[in-house]
Amino acid sequence: MTDSCSSVSKLLEKYFDREVTDKERLLVESHLQSCLTCRDTLMSMEGLRTFIKAPVEEAVQQEDFPWVWQKIDREIRSQEKGSWWQSLRSWMGLSPLFKKKVWIPAVATIATLLFISTQVIFKKIPSYSERSVVEYIESETYNIMVYESEKTKTTMIWLFDEEDQESSRS
């Protein structure tokens, strides 16, 4: 490395980041024409930038942000829910009333009457079996398996790509 290298090398990063003045840029560019070492240093910096930046750009291109907004919106709303309930309660002015215990049997009686009346008014129809079933299932692109767990009351329909099945066989 020559003497001029040591003075230019301090400017190389600034030059690479396009933060040099016009005078500094001319100095660096004329030095680069004859100095392989400094050119190699610049290339290394360029390589490092590519390694750091390229995967990030690729990731950004593939991302679908409306999904992210939904989660943000939900999070903000769930944080605000508590305060809405409190203001609703104060608006209805119910809080002092809860101090009077006489409302408990009154509300219980009314609730029971309501329940009975709605059952009577809307005649009961013989119900289907309450066990959940898969009535039919078809797919143009997947192989399907259906699993059931009575313990957790879960029915799982699992879709297999045909290439997943081939690779697991091979």
């Binding site: 939900r74 289907y128 959940s132 767990s149 957790t152 329909i157 790509d161």
Partner: protein, 146 residues
């Protein structure tokens, strides 16, 4: 006391109305999430799902992508994007008290990749999983709120 009775007088006809309206419609809870074995993070709203899935599938990470609670009306379809490139369509076929038959279609580029009809009842969850997404798979869960 007077205020209590006034409120209840208001509530009573509303309960009759809601009882009549509950036939021919059902509210469902639709969740779309990504399950993978990368990391051990489980979204807090999905911890119950992990316990339900354990006998069948067991991933280490569950990440909620979307949650909706649409109301389904008899023979009226409701569509929603399920995850990039896919759409899920729900149609209430039949409903009695606390049992609802729902047709579920998942479409990708206008092709029906899945067409099924399932019966929902209290406490029962239907899950559809398997399509690859990122480093894991997509799982869609459906349950009814009677």
């Amino acid at each position: 006391m007077k205020r209590i009775f006034l409120i209840l007088l208001f509530v009573f006809p509303l309960s009759l109305l809601s009882a009549s309206l509950s036939y021919g419609q059902v509210q469902v809870r639709l969740r779309v999430f990504e399950a993978s074995n990368v990391g051990t993070r489980i979204d807090s709203s999905l911890k119950d799902m992990r316990d339900q899935f354990k006998p069948l599938v067991d991933f280490s990470s569950y990440r909620l992508l979307k949650e909706e609670t649409p109301t389904l009306y008899l023979n009226q379809s409701v569509s929603s994007p399920a995850h990039p490139g896919r759409k899920i369509e729900l149609t209430l076929i039949r409903q009695h008290k606390n049992v609802a038959d729902v047709r579920v279609k998942i479409q990708r580029e206008e092709i029906d990749v899945l067409n099924t009809q399932v019966r929902l009842s209290p406490g029962r969850t239907i899950s559809i999983g398997g399509p690859k997404h990122g480093e894991g798979v997509i799982i869609i869960t459906l349950s009814a709120q009677f």
